[in-house]
Assembly symmetry: C2
Homo-oligomer: 306 residues x 2
Amino acid sequence: MMGGDYAPLEAVKGIVRYVSDGGSPASLVLLGDADLLRPLLTEHGISPEAIAIVHAPEHIGMHEHPTKALKEKKASSIAVGFGMLAEGRLDAIISAGNTGAMLVGALFSIKALPGILRPTIGAYMPRENGRLGFLLDAGINADCKPEHLAQFAVLGTLFMKHVMGVEDPRVGLLNIGEEEGKGNILAQAAYPLLQQQPGIRFIGNLEGRDVLVDKADVMVCEGFTGNIVLKMAESIHDIVVRRNIHDAYFDTFNFESYGGVPVLGVAKPVIIGHGISGAQSFQNMIRLAEKMIEKDLLGKISEAIV
Amino acid sequence: MMGGDYAPLEAVKGIVRYVSDGGSPASLVLLGDADLLRPLLTEHGISPEAIAIVHAPEHIGMHEHPTKALKEKKASSIAVGFGMLAEGRLDAIISAGNTGAMLVGALFSIKALPGILRPTIGAYMPRENGRLGFLLDAGINADCKPEHLAQFAVLGTLFMKHVMGVEDPRVGLLNIGEEEGKGNILAQAAYPLLQQQPGIRFIGNLEGRDVLVDKADVMVCEGFTGNIVLKMAESIHDIVVRRNIHDAYFDTFNFESYGGVPVLGVAKPVIIGHGISGAQSFQNMIRLAEKMIEKDLLGKISEAIV
């Protein structure tokens, strides 16, 4: 509840939206400063008795060093949450707080699923036809081996298929040239692995100009390129807003509206939101966690990775 | 004269513009099909006697294999041109033709300047204030070592300073995080080299969101990331045009209008234009070659690289 630029207000509003949409199975556990949350919930028409609050009064700032902060602030919502997740007292964790701390928690408190070489995080890439592409890795694995990219393709495929509802997702390799054999050493080596990888539909190389068009549903690359592509796409939205351009497509570049992305490959659903997450984002993140559990995404990942 | 999507008409028009602007010292040598060029020149008010034409009737298509085409089509304008450049019968070469063939010519017919580890090619990145950033490598060096990036910084600095008229160009390292120590293995190793590199003004790391803002004049990265960034920026222009968005800044994303970029680090000025180059581009490319010679860019590069 304490993470993100508009915490805890937008998180509370997101919960109000989620609860009032009704028919949802999730029992929410709010982690944060209970003294702050209780009056806020009441104010927004939610009885503090109707919802579990775990008091976590410490706060990890957006720019704090992740490992250090997690170690020192044991009463922070992120530290408390990952503790509960590891003990099985939570089924999923969601936060718009310090991304680094969330990743450290995901990688070290709950660990990777057996067989996963590198847990990864993706980024949505909007297309003009309203569909979403999914680019991974988006920044946590700056240096990768070819087999990591092949595994990202499997993780991305399972996520897009089961959670995002994309039938038979197309997988592309982000590269600098269309033909097989193009690219840097990593991309050249990843290409045949992707061709041979069971459980994915590999369609070949993608170029930078294909990132924003509806060519592939899953786009794999190492996290260096992926992060630069993501940040550049985010900056396009900033420019469009600054220049007062109103366009239905560029409006969808508002990455905040997507809610959040899961850390794929770890043993529990962990959803990381953008720092600027608003009410809609929080609602979407809860739904995303719910869907990951409902569709048993982690079970499907475990089956696929042997 | 035979290269590019609108050859040779737009090249002829570009020459008309260049000549009619007057006061220019360059004596042009046109390489291409003389039977085709002569009537076209007359039609556009240029006496074919007033301008040198070297008959090069063969044509390398945009999708032909560069090395193979250059070997087999010895009477193509690119093959003839690089031969003349190597023999000192030309001082610079310009083409909007097959980029690969131009690169093969640049790297193997005329070779790198002594001390140059990897010749490179850059890309202009437009900013809202009208300035241009220069990103290099833009795609010919997919795998790089840290020392290559340091040398790209020197080449980019000299080009931006002497040819583009940018005073004391700022150099940034394209990376995934602002602080020193961030990034992949290459970027982490390149950072201290850039700090220690004489003759450049290193301002630190840049992120993907900084590519289109006026933070650094020279942005260095390996050619894999650089090419993806370039192609993505080009695709933004395509999207803007397709969506009928009229905006003075996004109009400058029309990369065709910049003319061309030099292959930096080779022993003669070689200017490569976009396939869709029009008259304005050709005029700009002639001016660019002229300026490189006038400012003795290659002499300055030779002095800097020891």
